[in-house]
Each structure stands twice: as structure tokens, then as C-alpha cells.
């Protein structure tokens, strides 16, 4: 088993509604989707975001497009309009998600390394 950033396996976009942030995360390849299902869990995401997300994290699955939708509540400093953050929408949160370390099997690791991607130390 080797570890890579989620960025090597998936891409993501974040959006906002009030004080809720959502992140769509999409596997680059269908064979990465089960890895996402197993490791990009609400618990793992909540832990990774720490104090940034004050409410619960929920997850929805979209197997047809190999994607997950993560919904992060109480995550935008009280709401987009009154937040004092200079990213009140949390549009950059997708970049934080992609820095989540993910364990992959040897086949996927070999494939990623052949493509020039570096495992985590």
C-alpha cells in the first residue's frame, strides 16, 4: 500500500448555499471510485477540515459519473453574506479536500507512478 494525495485520483469543485459548503469530487477513472467510496468518508472529511467545519458532513453517491457530493454544514463562518473570511463562499475548499491522503493498492500506485505522480513519504 502507498499513499497519495486525493488530487492524484480525483478532481473537485466547491460551492455554497448560506452557511453550507458542498464539494463535488469526481474520480478520474472508474477504478478509483471504490477507493473514494472507502476513504473519502464523512468522518475522514470532517477530520481533515478540523475547526473549519462546525456542523455535520454528509455524503451522496453518484456511481454513474463516479462522483461523490460532500455537504459541509456550518462551514462558511456564519454564512456567505456576513462571513468575515476573504473566501466567504469556500470556493477554495475543494483544494483542501484534494490534499486528503489516500491509500491505494499496488496496481493503482504503479499506474500513478508511471504517470509521474509521486507517493507521499
Amino acid at each position: 500500500m502507498k499513499r497519495f494525495y486525493l488530487r492524484e485520483l480525483a478532481h473537485a469543485r466547491a460551492g455554497d448555499k448560506g452557511d453550507t459548503n458542498n464539494i463535488g469530487v469526481i474520480a478520474y477513472r472508474p477504478e478509483y471510485y471504490p477507493v473514494l467510496l472507502a476513504q473519502v468518508t464523512p468522518e475522514a472529511v470532517k477530520r481533515h477540515f478540523g475547526t473549519l467545519v462546525k456542523g455535520p458532513v454528509s455524503r451522496y453517491e453518484l456511481p454513474k459519473v463516479c462522483a461523490l457530493n460532500l455537504v459541509l454544514e456550518n462551514a462558511l463562518g456564519g454564512g456567505v453574506t456576513r462571513s468575515l473570511s476573504h473566501d466567504p463562499h469556500g470556493k477554495s475548499y475543494s483544494a483542501l479536500l484534494l490534499s486528503l491522503p489516500i491509500e491505494v493498492n499496488n496496481d493503482i500506485a504503479a499506474e500513478l507512478e508511471a504517470a509521474g505522480r509521486k507517493p507521499l513519504p
Partner: protein, 455 residues
Amino acid sequence: MVKHPRTRTLRIGAGSSYAGDRIEPGADLARRGRLDYLVFETLAERTIALAQLERLKNPAAGFNELLDDRFYAALPACREHGTRIVTNMGAANPLGAARRTLEIVRELGLGPMKVAAVLGDDVLEYCLRHRDTLAMMESGAPLASYAGELVSANAYLGADVIVAALAQGADIVITGRGGDCSLFLAPMVHEFGWRLDDWDILAKGQTGADMVECAANVSGAFFADPGYKEVPDLANLGYPLLEVEADGTIIVTKLEGTGGIINRATCAEQMLYEIHDPASYITPDVVVDFSAVELDEVGPDRVRISGGRGRARPDRLKVSVGVKEGWIGEGELTFAGLGALDRAKLAEAVVRERFRIGGIRIEELRVDYIGMNSLHGDASPLPALPPYEVRLRVAGRTREKRDAVKLANEVETLVSKGPGMSSLPRKSVREILGIVSVLIPREAITPSVQMLEAG
């Protein structure tokens, strides 16, 4: 007017996705897109509340400030090709926008043309009358419990009233608040004669509409990540268009010779953008289930969207209520070189003490070290070395404007009275226009069409 439902492919372009969006991509679509319809979406959640404040100052204002630019650039080509326009550039004043549009039509000598204003989304009176019983979606508390002054309340109207305007022969339909996707769904319903209670066909239409309602966000905008996701010619992004068939099959594509990219990845990111449960995407027209949607690349920059399903539309409509919530004062300055972080920290300590000495009343204060952890807080990894540059940002929310001004001034004063070797500061003071949401029954709303004609 459509006598027989259409059988040919319907082409609908997306010319903009926010109030200040670029002009030329929409004009390019008008010229080269062989479009039946061109949609200009320009309203974010807060845009109407801001426009309402403008309208209070000037009753003729309150609609999109770039309406002239968009129409001067696109109308001649739309007229030449018989392309009809649907837009929410009306913001807080659709009738004012329609009147201005007539003037432009006359000036350009494009008449005769019919311009429809869609009215009825303004429900401020209703919300004020029922403020004791309307519960805010965010907190569950009644609207009346909100401390701030209500400045606007606009319901998200559906496609039905736009369809009515098109059936009356409007060449241009100008709305205020409505569902963004409804701007695209309305032409499909009108042209193909789809029933407004055929939930599956409406859901297919809305799934296509959702792909393009943020315009270039499906064609390469907010997507590029060098080495991972490449976007060709990003500076010349082409805005998207839909090719819609009568059975709800939809292809999203863009014009040849434009920059950007449309593929499964861009479509998947856009489909999941700003949604909660993908099986229940609520629009005024239908509740859409995206969970079985399939995206197939059928050609270069061509993706077929299929598998959208629908359930009955909601009985109540969402209303965005604009609320004055106080003020934000803020200031920033940058430290660089050896000891930059230490000087920034001393500056923070000084400014906090100055706020105390000055008796500035601050409801919430935030201090950021930009370059280190300002976007992701505690979740940011610790830097291995002290940063070479740090931008100190101090922002505070206050009830009164004078406190926000004092706060910003104290940050500004750091440059001459704080630690040394910083850049000159920048400061700003702005009023907070918050948005809360309530649901109101459909019966409380009477959408209508007012038709203006230029001879």
C-alpha cells in the same frame, strides 16, 4: 406563436452567468451559434437586493448595469437570425429594463419587436405582512425575529410565466428573480409543447439547463489545474450552448474556434455545483433527480446528457429576503523579509489594543495571515520555514458604520504607528446586505407579463 410542436433540434445559448460577466462570448454566440434562443443569466443571490437599493435611490434604475452593453453587442445578430432572448437582467426592475430595451431596439432600428417584462416576483409586502409566521429556512425562527431591516424579498418564479410571454410572441423576455434553470427550460417547454406536469421531461430539460446556467463553468471556467486538468486557450473561453431534442435528449457544446473544453469532467463538476442531495434538486418547475444522469462524450467538446428524472414541483416557492445586517470594516498590509511574521504578529497585538483603547464596538473580529492560513484556518499545514511575505488582514463586523470606519482607520494607522518595514495598507468599509430564505405558498404569488412593442 407555435402552432405545432417543434420536431427540429432546438439551440439555446448561455451568454452570461453573473451581473458583470464578459460581453463578447454572448455576442459571438449570437453571431455564429445559429441559435433559436440566447439566455443571459445575471443574478446571484444578493444581486437583486443590491439592485433594490439602487432603485430606491433612482426609480428608473435597479436592473443590470451592463444591459446596454449586452444588447448593443448581441441584438443586431439576434434580430438577423431570428434568435429570441430570455434574460433575468431585469433584477429589481424588469419593467424599467424592458423600457430601456425598447429604446435600444429603436436606436438600432431593429423594430418591430416585442419586449416582455415578467412581473410578480417582488413579494416584500407579503413577507412584511406575514413576518410573524414565515420561518427562515436557515434557522427556523420567524422572519420577525431578525434584527436587520428588510430591503427586498423576491420569489423564485418558474418557467410557466416565461412560457406565457413567449406564447404571446415576445422576442425578448426580461425577468427579475426566478429559477436560473427556468430561463432555459421555458423555451424548451414552449417550442416542444411539453406539459408542465410531465415531471420526467421537465427534469431532462432542467438537467440540461443546469449544465449551462453558470455559462462557461461547463466549458472550462473555474476548472484548470496545470498538470492535472488542462484547458486550451483559457483566455478565450467559449460559452456553451444546448442542442435539445423533443424527447429531452440534450447535447452541451460550444462554438468552433473558441477556447475552453467541454467533457465528462467539466460536466460532472458543473452538475454537482451548489447542490445538496443530488436526488432532490429543487427547482420551481420540478424536483430533479440527478443520481442516474449519464454523461457521454459524443464528439470533441460535445457531451450528451441523459437519465434525468423528475418528481412533482414543490407547493411552496423559495423567497430570497435581503436584510441590512450592519457593517464590515477591514484593512490589510504586507510584511516581507526576515522577521516578517514576527512584525505581523506585533502589528496584530497593537491593533487589538488600539480597538480596546478606542472603545470600538465590534461584534466579531477576524485576523488572517494571508500566505499562511487565511483560507483554511487550522486545517492548513504548518510551513517548514517562516514565510518570506505575510499579509496581515484584520476584518470586523459592527452594528454601526462609525465603528467600522474607526476599525479600518486603526488598521491603516499601523503603517506609521506600528512595527516597521511593511507595505502601505489598504482599507475598506462596506454595508452588509445579508440574505435569508423563506418559503411561501404559490397562491401568494401572481406572476404576470407586461408586453411592450417597438414599431
